[in-house]
Symmetry: C2
Subunit: 186 residues, 2 copies
Amino acid sequence: MPLLMLKDLPRYECLLEAVRRHPDLDPSACEAYLNLLRAGDEAYQRSENFLSKHDMSPGRFTVMMLLYDKMAGKAIPTTPADLADKAGVTRATITGLVDTLERDGLVVREHDPRDRRMMLVHLTPQGVSTLESILPGHFQQMAQQMAPLSQDERRTLVRLLNKLIGAPLPAAAVEAEPAAAAAHHS
Amino acid sequence: MPLLMLKDLPRYECLLEAVRRHPDLDPSACEAYLNLLRAGDEAYQRSENFLSKHDMSPGRFTVMMLLYDKMAGKAIPTTPADLADKAGVTRATITGLVDTLERDGLVVREHDPRDRRMMLVHLTPQGVSTLESILPGHFQQMAQQMAPLSQDERRTLVRLLNKLIGAPLPAAAVEAEPAAAAAHHS
DNA sequence: AAGCAATGATTAGCCTCCTAATTAGTTCCT
DNA sequence: AGGAACTAATTAGGAGGCTAATCATTGCTT
């Protein structure tokens, strides 16, 4: 949830004024950027707030969703490394999340019999039923958050956001950074 | 930076398929929601990444910006409570951030002479110059992130996001309220 | 067959955020 | 004047991120 942002976004006129002292400031970019962060943060926090009522955090929920076979309602055994990869966090983070999920009886770890370096994590029956008790509310919650937009507006929003997602940064201009972070070496 | 989300967003067909088992799922809402979170997170992380090169975090940066008089380039003394309020975090969080900023010589704390319960935090000259050395890059960074969108698209995006920001939640339905989905009482 | 590099998971230590409890100082009320 | 109630800031402890270092197992190489 940790965003930490301005509670009140600056008005557009203020941005225009600020350009006088800061010629690098692009008012329309800044406005779009701040609103994007604000909207994303708000959506995130609302979900987090919903999940917390079920003793769940976004991280825990994500892990459980990854272990859950949506169609069959079954548990899929998965390695921590795979979970980390799919969730987009480090393995160390997965270790911590699985620790608490296991403590709460929602998942179990066991050694992969073929390669004892690996663990296999999967939902317990209790984990499955807990997850299934949360999902309907979670879906409703998403639907409510997007309720202010019509189908058409949602399509437009998705189209615009997709222009931003994964857009390659000019990299050179962001900072003198030769071939480091943007490279394909994750 | 802590978001923890699916690295690969589900394709729309998958969402349609999932509706079969989960009737509460609204595919277009879900798609819009996931893309919003993804785009917001990506923008946030890029900024965080930029700031970290200057030994700065979003939290530290926000505090410094709040202490900075944009027009005059001066330091504005502010109480921790006021900072917490404007930044949208708790006072305890501000205490921690100001601790490290003070340790690094970027801000100073002093007692308010009128009311010794209160502290006044303000930027040091070093804090001002550090901030001013970061700002141009920060502004460029925002501009680059929004570069894929035209002026018109930015306006549209802001308009759509504003429909979401601060939209009142039906509240009743978000709470644990299973069957009565259609009934919105307030 | 023994050693060494690679791979998977964990641990350790740090940061930012939270809530709840504590400490310090002010104000208000007889 | 002396407490009671309030308000500001901090501390304590927890969660979830991160990176870097460590431990365990595998498998390759000689």
